[in-house]
Amino acid sequence: MLTIDERIKCTVMDLIKYVQEKFVETKEFPSFAAGDTITVYYQIREGEKTRTQFFRGDVLQRSGSGTTETFTIRKMSGNIGVERIFPVNMPNLEKIEVNKRGKVRRARIFYQRERTGKSARIKERRG
């Protein structure tokens, strides 16, 4: 049996979910997790024209749940680290390619930020 407070909480969360499901289009992508190397193709608008750009890097984390979930990817642009956060259900996302599955022990690999060169390598997961 749920207490009254729990029941109120249930209905509230249901209505939020209802809004999310009704007004946010969800997208289908291959599953990926922290440590994987992925390429994200997304559309950008330059004035009138739209074109597709890609961003390839390591996934640092997946954050949040449901329709508001986001993921962070990091790449090295020359010597400078660049990170981008994408909402999973962003309409401008075209596709995601998983290039490499990485073997990591945690869900959020922020220690990658301090690492460069040899120590920044992530072991590939096989099978």
Binding site: I8, V12, L15, I16, Y18, V19, V24, T68
Partner: protein, 204 residues
């Protein structure tokens, strides 16, 4: 301004037509019932009283008042002055369809209580002096609260620490992003004062 009473459900985010991620608040708005029409002759002023939500154990007086409009006693009653004349009659049910997507609304709510707060949090004072160079324990102090023997008292309204929050606040010009008539939901851009489950008034 005509309006409706609703309940704050919570916040989420949705994507608009340009693909932008918009933070939004979900409000369960109505259905509200017109419970009384106040007139110049009888009450001295013209207004429309509407009610929202059901009372659990209404006293007879409340039930009797609601009975005139053929409904049950309501949790919250609000009067609105600017409903168009003759647009509504006693017992009418007003729903979220009153509003349109894209229009701008004002929302009244009661802010969350913050408890007893000092002047830095409550009034935005900067505190006194420095945090280094040997200074101590004046960092969040209010400073002087007035002159000495003349006037020999502290003026009324001097800003000091005290209870903060639980204020009636109106946020103006919130854009309506989405409307859902099945569940009586209104989705507005941005935040709305108050806790989840608290009652809010949405004005057109």
């Amino acid at each position: 301004m005509p309006g409706l009473i609703g309940k704050k459900i919570g916040m989420t985010s949705i994507f608009d037509a340009d693909g932008k991620n918009q933070p939004c608040t979900v409000i369960e708005l109505g259905p509200c019932v017109v419970t009384q029409l106040k007139t110049e002759d009888v009450d001295g002023y013209a207004a429309v009283q509407i009610g929202f939500g059901d009372q659990k154990n209404p006293v007879q007086a409340a039930a009797g008042h609601a009975n005139k409009a053929n409904t049950t006693a309501k949790k919250k009653y609000v009067e609105f002055k600017d409903f168009a004349e003759g647009a509504v009659s006693l017992g009418d049910v007003l729903t979220v369809e009153m509003f349109e997507e894209g229009e701008f609304v004002d929302i009244v709510g009661t802010t969350k209580g913050k408890g007893f707060q000092g002047v830095v949090r409550r009034h935005g004072f900067a505190g006194v002096g420095q945090s280094t160079h040997g200074q101590h324990n004046r960092l969040r102090a209010p400073g002087s609260i007035g002159a000495g023997s003349d006037p020999s008292r502290v003026f009324k309204g001097t800003r000091m620490g005290g209870r903060m929050g639980v204020d009636r606040v109106k946020i103006q010009n919130l854009q309506v992003l989405k409307i859902d008539t099945e569940q009586n939901l209104l989705v507005v851009k941005g935040s709305v004062p108050g806790a989840k489950q608290s009652l809010v008034i949405v004005e057109k």
